[in-house]
């Protein structure tokens, strides 16, 4: 088959059909040329479309990741535990409804755990810090605690690894005293953190308040969200509990902001490089494709097509290719982003529809550019020169 373009496909047996088509509106010929051009040069059209799909997919995946990576990493950072600490003003205890107030201010945007601390004495009179807390909340807040066995019933205690040999070397039950009142507890397990917790004894908050009559003095909050959202939560908590100091845990907040910022910047640089490469790949493929069809171009021109029609034809072709490639690529890209999310963050990256217009516009721009460049070169050439193959 010669490369004379779509018109060459009309044979003698199709003459009647051709006659009927001659009266058909102008647009149908235009569409037929578009469709036939794609079908007749399947190989080249497919490779151009493939390049477009890959570029759009990579761009979609990168943009999706870029938008989502902050949320994903913030979640990892919440494993560092509290980023806000609420303490009673001047070291005083908090009102009994403080935790409920904090919970309502959080409204599911994080987790809070109360801590009450007193210095109790063991049976041989040694001072030791005894803390009362809500174990279910601590389990979620302080995931780095290495605990052998969490207490499950009342009067059970979690013993710090350094405190264990002092109070219960044989893991036997023991007595603690505070201001003349004694409490009999059984060790349930040990806790190891490498910090102050190792020298303490933890009991449930109910046991703690019944024994000491002291309300919790500290609430630790791991609030999720951006720095502005965390600041908003701090404000709400400060309003809800006026008798308290609300402080950010600065090293966590600063570390988080730094790591997140640098990761996003790296991602942005990588995304720019990759999208640039993919766009250039599309550009070179498409320019080759259009340049290859200079004979079609010359024949159309020789048959009397106006410059505007030719421009319109190649532009429409490029636009269709760009849009199709962008749509398929968008779907593939969402798939890639979701897969990366699953593999790396164990949570899918949510598809962002806001990325679609960006990818679509970018794809169309690249395809149009790659149609215009060779067109501009060919316009100056006489059709006869091209048709002679020079």
């Amino acid at each position: 088959m010669s490369a004379l373009g779509p018109n060459a496909s009309i044979s003698h047996s199709e003459r009647d059909l051709a006659a009927s088509r001659a009266n058909a509106p102008h647009t149908s010929m235009f569409l037929r040329m578009l469709v036939r051009a794609a079908i007749l040069r399947r190989g080249r059209a497919a490779s151009a479309l493939f390049a477009m799909v890959v570029a759009a997919a990579v761009a979609t995946a990168m943009l999706n990741l870029y938008v989502d990576v902050q949320a994903k990493l913030r979640r990892e950072f919440r494993n560092y535990g509290a980023n806000i600490i609420v303490v009673g003003k001047g070291g005083a205890s908090m009102p009994p409804d403080a935790l409920a107030n904090v919970d309502s201010a959080l409204a599911g945007r994080g987790i809070a755990a109360p801590f009450g601390l007193v210095v109790g004495r063991t049976t041989d009179g040694q001072p030791i810090v005894v803390a009362g807390t809500d174990f279910d909340r601590v389990k979620q807040l302080d995931k780095w605690w290495s605990v052998s066995n969490w207490p499950s019933t009342s009067k059970q205690a979690l013993i710090g690894v350094r405190a264990l040999p002092e109070v219960a070397p044989k893991s036997q039950s023991f007595e603690l005293s505070f201001q003349g009142r004694t409490l009999h507890v059984t060790p349930a397990g040990t806790v190891q953190t490498g910090a102050a917790e190792d020298s303490r004894i933890y009991i449930s908050l109910a046991d703690f308040m019944a024994w000491t009559g002291v309300q919790p003095s500290t609430i630790e909050i791991a609030a999720s969200g951006s720095p502005e959202e965390v600041a908003g939560i701090m404000n709400q908590v400060a309003h809800a509990i006026p008798a308290s100091d609300v402080r950010p845990v600065r090293q966590i907040m600063e570390g988080e902001a730094r790591v997140l910022g640098k990761t996003r910047a790296t991602l942005l640089a990588a995304a720019a490089l990759i999208i640039l490469t993919a766009a250039l790949c599309v550009l070179s493929t498409l320019i080759g494709w259009v340049f290859d069809r200079r004979r079609d171009f010359a024949i159309m021109k020789a048959l009397g097509a106006s410059g505007r029609l030719l421009n319109g034809f190649f532009a429409a072709e490029a636009a269709v290719l760009g849009a199709t490639g962008a749509l398929i690529g968008f779907l593939v890209g969402i798939g890639i982003a979701a897969w990366i999310g699953r593999v790396n963050f164990h949570a899918p990256v949510m598809p962002r529809l806001s990325v679609l217009p960006v990818v679509l516009a970018g794809s169309m721009a690249v395809t149009l550019l790659s149609a215009i460049l060779p067109m501009a070169m060919l316009r100056r050439v006489q059709p006869a020169v091209i048709l002679r193959g020079e």
Binding site: K72, N79, W144, G255, V259, K262, A278
Partner: protein, 421 residues
């Protein structure tokens, strides 16, 4: 003849070769930059994570229990054991000394402070700020300015050898003290050089050079604990094994891996009568964050390699496709498929090597630029990477050209010469 064909092809088709070469250069640039960033990102993020604080703590082995609530130590000050300040430089002598980014000794002392008639019982924390320490030939600076980077001072940081101190901001508010005031701590007149804000217990304390705290306590050379910041590798099942249960090469492998556990083990070995432990809040979580970021960048590097491979093959396919007529002529003159293909492959190899070299240089500069603009430190490319990159460039160029070359040599010379596909 073969060499001449290739040479003339490069000489006469400068534009086309330049285009293909540019595509390869770009592809290799992106690949090199991304590989360099990916191999270094772990170290860079690890250093950023050190903002969160020290991940290891060294305490005396025979220490009594800490009785500490909200930063106030209720234990009698002379109770318990101490580490010796003279042993501290040995921290820089351990196997993984290059991974130690900083350390800060701490000595809390309960004191009474007096300022303008107000008296308060507070904790005075003795530490290093940025003290020059030397071990062997190595000189480095130790102290809270590197291990506790979130500490902010309004005023000036005290010198480690001066009798100047920092006043915690809440304590300063209670005392009504400000920078350049004089305060009296158990009879010693001290000068406040700045107000310290940390968001933690230190806001209620006085932070002083270590020797002052030792002098007030009456124990020269004493240190209660040392915080150590170290670059570590995320721990795995192997890291958690007990070194005492390991032997021979397995023990060596454990000892020579920068796990938090093995660095803690080496610290305890280096400092007599000490016990070193990881601070789980910091060390456990940084492993998770690090793994996630490294994994992300690794996957993206794969995407970058894929995109650049595609760009290179697209460019190669186009250039070869444009030379159908040439292939037809060669074949019409009697060249076999092998001869034609080998000319194309030779040209591809040459292009890949030239483009690869240029791309490696540009990619290196790009990685350097990324390192400086994002991390304020250098990302350098090991020269070992050059042959690897060149090999990848050649392979990708070959793979990208293979399809086009096969189609070109399969072409009937008659059609090719008439310009028909």
């Amino acid at each position: 003849m073969f060499v001449r064909l290739v040479y003339e092809s490069f000489r006469r088709q400068k534009r086309r070769k330049l285009l293909a070469g540019a595509a390869i250069t770009l592809g290799v640039t992106v690949a090199t930059a991304m590989i360099a960033v990916a191999t270094d990102i772990g170290d860079k993020i690890n250093r950023e994570l050190r903002t969160i604080g020290a991940n290891l703590v060294v305490t005396p082995q025979e220490d009594s229990l800490d009785v500490e609530i909200g930063g106030v130590n209720l234990k009698p000050p002379t109770d318990g054991a101490f580490l010796s300040e003279a042993d501290l430089p040995k921290i820089k002598g351990i196997f993984w000394h290059n991974n130690i980014t900083g350390f800060a000794p701490m000595l809390p002392v309960n004191v009474e402070v007096e300022h303008e008639g107000k008296r308060l019982d507070v904790t005075l924390l003795g530490t290093y700020f940025a003290k020059p320490v030397s071990y062997g030939k190595e000189e480095f600076s130790a102290g809270v300015r590197s291990t506790h980077p979130w500490w902010k001072v309004s005023g000036a940081w005290p010198e480690d050898s001066s009798r100047n101190v920092l006043l915690g901001e809440r304590l300063a508010a209670r005392l009504g003290g400000k920078a350049r005031d004089e305060i009296t701590v158990v009879g010693n007149p001290l000068k406040v050089s700045g107000i310290l804000s940390t968001g933690g217990a230190e806001d209620d304390q006085i932070v002083a050079p270590l020797f002052l705290a030792q002098e007030i306590l009456g124990r020269p050379g004493a240190v209660r604990r040392v915080y150590v910041s170290a670059l570590t590798k995320p721990e795995d099942a192997f890291a958690r094994r007990d070194p005492k249960s390991l032997s021979g090469p397995i023990y060596d492998r454990w000892y020579c891996s920068p796990y938090p556990q093995s660095i803690a083990f080496q610290l305890a070995e280096a400092i007599p009568h000490s016990h070193a432990e990881q601070i789980r809040q910091v060390s456990q979580n940084e492993g998770a964050v690090l793994t996630r970021i490294e994994g992300l960048i690794f996957l993206i590097t794969l995407a970058a390699l894929f995109a650049s491979a595609l760009a290179v093959s697209a460019a190669m396919a186009t250039t070869i496709f444009e030379r159908r007529a040439e292939v037809g002529l060669m074949k019409a003159l009697g060249a076999g498929k092998v001869a034609v293909a080998s000319i194309f492959f030779a040209e591809a190899t040459l292009l890949a090597l030239l483009g690869g070299l240029a791309g490696f240089a540009v990619g290196g500069a790009l990685a350097h630029e990324i390192g400086h603009s994002i991390f304020n430190s250098d990302i350098s490319i090991p020269p070992v990477l050059l042959p690897v990159i060149l090999a990848i460039a050649v392979i990708v160029t070959f793979a990208g050209s293979a399809m086009a070359i096969r189609r070109a040599v399969a072409l009937d010379p008659v059609f090719a010469l008439r310009g028909e596909l």
